[in-house]
């Protein structure tokens, strides 16, 4: 017997609990820096294949310890392996740093909005990353490089605190050696043998070659870095709707229910994490919201 309310809310399928993770197996652990590592994962039921779009994230669960939202850092073209790059900062991520090959991990996702890879076709693409912010942008780089003919000039501007904090050093060198991809790297401070740039990443923006009138910029890094990067890009002539940023907030569910990730009317988990800047410009003006 249906009550009037039951009819009104049209009950969904009980069996699909969105809070249940899927089990994945650690295939490979790779140390990136002193506090950052990458995990290659495969579905342990052998179902194989994890589909995602660049910019999306998963909720990763470490048995008995908890969950954390982590963006996907692997190649969207390689379906078999799911890759995450994780910085050990809290109980969950520090625990994950101890994972070894063969260990298991819970995965819920993929969640969230994506980098504008379609919109960027036929245009110059400027990717600007600060610190661990390169991780959610790496899937875009893979996508650009395997569909190189679809895009104009491609640029990566990457800044880290010190040379030891640079992620994916080998890949950076590979990318830099290509003639069709401009890669500029900088650090805030350096000792010893570093011969590269020492300046903030925003200073690289005027040095790069791209057409501000016909380009798309994708930016991810600490909040202060994104603020100044956006200002510099606009100084170069980009408009608000050519700039995309990825936001970060506390998240407990990833599906718009827990309330933690709100920025005024936005739920970063489902309305983001990737936003076109014009949607954020008013919110950027407000403090502590």
């Amino acid at each position: 017997m249906a009550t009037v309310l039951e009819r009104q809310i049209k009950m969904g399928d009980d069996n699909q609990n969105p809070m249940h993770p899927k089990l994945f197996k650690v295939m490979k652990v790779r140390k990136e820096t002193h506090d950052t590592f990458s995990l290659n994962l495969e579905a342990s039921d052998g179902s194989g294949g994890f589909h995602f779009q660049p910019g999306q994230f998963n909720m990763l669960y470490l048995f008995g310890v908890g969950e954390a939202p982590i963006s996907i850092s692997g190649d969207p073209g390689v379906k078999k392996t799911l890759t995450h790059t994780i910085r050990a900062v809290g109980a969950v991520t520090k625990g994950m740093m101890k994972l070894k090959k063969g260990d298991s991990l819970g995965v819920r996702g993929p969640y969230g909005t994506t980098w504008p890879t379609k919109e960027a076709e036929g245009k110059d693409v400027v990717i600007i990353a600060g610190g661990i912010g390169l991780a959610p942008l790496r899937p875009v780089i893979y996508h650009l490089l395997s569909n190189r003919e679809k895009f104009g000039k491609t640029v990566l501007l990457y800044g880290a605190r010190t040379p030891d904090d640079l992620l994916y050093v080998q890949e950076l060198e590979q990318w830099r050696s290509r003639f069709d991809f401009e890669v500029l790297v900088t650090v805030d401070r350096a000792l010893g043998k570093w011969q590269g740039n020492i300046e903030v990443v925003t200073r690289l923006i005027p040095k790069a070659t791209y057409d501000p009138a016909n380009s798309i910029a994708m930016v991810c890094g600490p909040s202060i870095m994104m603020r100044f990067t956006v200002l510099e890009l606009m100084k170069q002539g980009l408009t608000q709707n050519q700039i995309y940023i990825s936001e970060e907030r506390n998240m407990k569910c990833g599906i718009g229910h827990c309330g933690h990730c709100q920025i005024e009317h936005i739920f970063v988990c489902k309305d983001g994490p990737v936003f076109r800047y014009d949607a954020m410009v008013e919110l950027f003006k407000k403090r502590d919201i």
Binding site: T3, V4, E6, D13, R249, K252, I255
Partner: protein
Amino acid sequence: MTKSSFQIGELLIVELEHFQQLLDALWNRDFAVYGPTVKDMAIVHDEVKAVYDFPIGWTDEQEAAHYQLKKTGNGALFNYVVGPHTWKKYLFPPKVSLWEAKKEGALFEILPDKSSPPKMAFIGIRACDLSAIMIQDNIFTKGDYKDSIYLRNRKNNFILAVNCTKSGGGCFCISMGTGPKATKGFDLALTEIIDDKRHYFLFEVGSELGGEILSQVTTQAAGETEKQTVEKAINQAKNQMGRALDTRGIKELLYDNSEHPRWDDVASRCLTCGNCTMVCPTCFCSNIEDYTDLTGKLANRQRRWDSCFTLEHSYIHGGSVRSSVKARYRQWLTHKFASWIDQFGTSGCVGCGRCITWCPSGIDVTEEIKEIRRSVKVSTAV
């Protein structure tokens, strides 16, 4: 008069002496029946076993930071407004297990949940609280992802709404368009009337199930006099409304005034205790806590109510986004009255007044918003 069922919209009279039959009809259908009862000198929601469990002869007196039960001696079952409990404790429980998992070697598996969905009857939901349930339905069941726990608990509900014939000091349901009369979302709604000679209830049938349940109770057709008496009684609640809120352009008002000095003022009074979020019938924030047993082989994830007044709520590596009291109070009020509209198409406030009554420093949301509006009017007039 007995009939196999009543039609939706039919109005029937039940005398007090037959009210117990309604509870019996629900038990016969295997419902666990939850209703108002007096506990620790407050009217709360709990399982009721008989009419005698109801707050017979009690009423409540409410003002900012003030709640007091009083004896009236008139024998009414529903002569109070809303207490510290909301119905969300049954649908979106304060603490609930999301799932359990067992570890075997390097692998783990989630254990199947074998419990069956509860059948719950809620007696005495006020119009404001009924709106609050529909607001939470919106959050947990209308998006791309449905909350399994909420769906389970919400699935087999019987709802008996009670129309208000008195208002409390914190009430402003008229301003929020939610009460004092329940208009939808119920199986049955009643209005309680006590006059010189009689103590009776006028029932309105809201669903097929409501009609069937009511057919198990001794009823009589409602006369014109009784209908008029009920209308008058509900009007009385309208006229007594303790507070009012001007909601015109409220979203823009709050969005545009995020740096208004009133936020600093209220921050100096707010204790960030989170009481307002705990008594609010629509607040839905939750946190998840992880546990293991002593062997470390069995893990449990528990969801519990959270509050945006805590520092942890917005914590990301490096610190809290909303580290000041001002930022946290502004988040709560702006979410409730402004961003909620963008997110879910309705206000997050139903005007129940609980946050006013249960705030230990007596912060009154209607007053805070009025102050912001007043100064904006003044400044544009200049």
